[in-house]
Amino acid sequence: MSSSLLLSKKNSDVTENGTYKHTTSPIVTGTSVLALKYKDGVMMASDCLASYGSLARFRNVRRLQPIGTHTILGASGEISDFQFIQNQFEGLMLKEHVEDGQKLETSSIYRYLSNVMYGRRSKVDPLWNKYIVAGVEPSKNNNIFLGFVDLYGTTYQSSVMATGFGAHIALPIMRKYAEPRADSLTEEEASKILDDCMRVLYYRDARSFNKIQKAKVTAQGVEISEPYSLSTNWDFAESIIGYGS
């Protein structure tokens, strides 16, 4: 294979009849990302799995990425597209560093990402992801920001959000326990809600994994935990015929 072919852009290979082939389905994927606002900032969780179809292919993948000092980016969907976005941000942040530019805050990072996502969908060559952008904005009186953008360029902001299967299973839990108390929720409470949601997801989402990471952003900056596991209880399997026995 020639080096130019090696370096040529993924997803835009020319086919025999001269048309371009774009991504029509994701290949290596990450499942849900969850995020919620609490008293001091915002917290996010995801597992460390990258699946190849139903195969648990890569089991130590970090899907929560710090961008700058006060923002985290959580990704679900196609991992290669996520890595492309990570590279874009690395370049953007380096540019900001060497040019002594104004520090990019969460809403600017979110706007940039949203424009990239909408731009790619408009070329009918989407980046196959759902992203959650979370952060605290020091220059805006420590405004807590939580935003979503997907492969269609659809955007929204909310005090709780989840991607993928989490939108069905974890979101109702977060809407019940976190959303009404977003202003008063303590860090411990927020942490417990996310752990509980991740546990429920691990019980029910066949593409999930019991090795997860949690991240938070407060006025002090970004903190991302090392991967850890949740306690689980599979005793109920005993009572289900054809499940455990």
Binding site: N17, T24, F148
Partner: protein
């Protein structure tokens, strides 16, 4: 079947659909010297509610609002483009662009994407150059019509006939056809329209943003709808 046709059929089958419907309903009623614009704030995708509060009404000038429904990302981008053009107009002409001009411009901006349309059903509403209420409605490729009232979006089939009857005075006997609605009547009709639609349309709900545009400016009110 020729290979070209086969290839075309194949490539069409494998093609990713670049549109989604995010639901939502927008409404506008023009009065003699005012205009009412209302939208719910729910954003959905399939049976999921993405968020309960995502504004679909965008302010273009101090007299003109732009309400959307359909594909949210296109709606936001279209509103952004119209706002950019309205600002350019101000820079070039030293004069705030008036509603009929924005209306024509919007039609052109939309038709420019005739073969990859903005999947949006927009309503442009506010006060025209003479201070009269005005409503312009569009289809996704830029067909434009100045109307007295309009409802677009997921609950349009529920509300439009109601407004035809109550605002357009259709199918009413012994009624003074020259009668016009008062501001309060139009405002209340907007609320009643949405509270009713919410009962039957799963894509309409959560909150209602109601804007009143009159000679004193733009006034916004937010009411709750049902969260179910």
């Amino acid at each position: 079947m020729s290979t070209e046709i086969q290839n075309a059929a194949k490539s069409h089958a494998g093609r990713w659909e670049p549109y989604v419907d995010n639901g939502g309903t927008s409404l506008a009623i023009a009065g003699p010297d005012f205009c009412i614009i209302a939208s719910d704030t729910r954003q959905s995708e399939g049976y999921s509610i993405n968020t309960r509060y995502d504004s679909k009404v965008h302010q273009i000038t101090d007299k003109v609002l732009f309400a959307t429904s359909g594909y949210s990302a296109d709606g936001k981008k279209l509103a952004e483009n119209i706002k950019i053009q309205a600002e350019k107009y101000l820079d070039k002409n030293d004069k705030i662009i008036q509603a009929p001009s924005i209306a024509q411009m919007t039609s052109i901006i939309m038709y420019q994407k005739r073969f990859f349309p903005y999947y949006v059903f927009p309503i442009l509403a506010g006060l025209d150059g003479e201070g009269k209420g005005c409503v312009f409605s569009y289809d996704p490729v830029g067909n434009m019509e100045r109307v007295g009232f309009q409802v677009y979006g997921s609950a349009s089939a529920l509300i439009q006939p109601f407004l035809d009857n109550q605002v357009g005075l259709k199918h009413q006997e012994n009624v003074d056809k020259n009668r016009t609605l008062s501001k309060q009547e139009a405002f209340d009709l907007a609320i009643d329209s949405f509270t009713s639609a919410t009962e039957r349309d799963i894509y309409t709900g959560d909150y209602l943003e109601i804007y009143t545009v009159d000679s004193t400016g733009i006034h916004k009110e937010v009411r709750t709808l049902k969260f179910d």
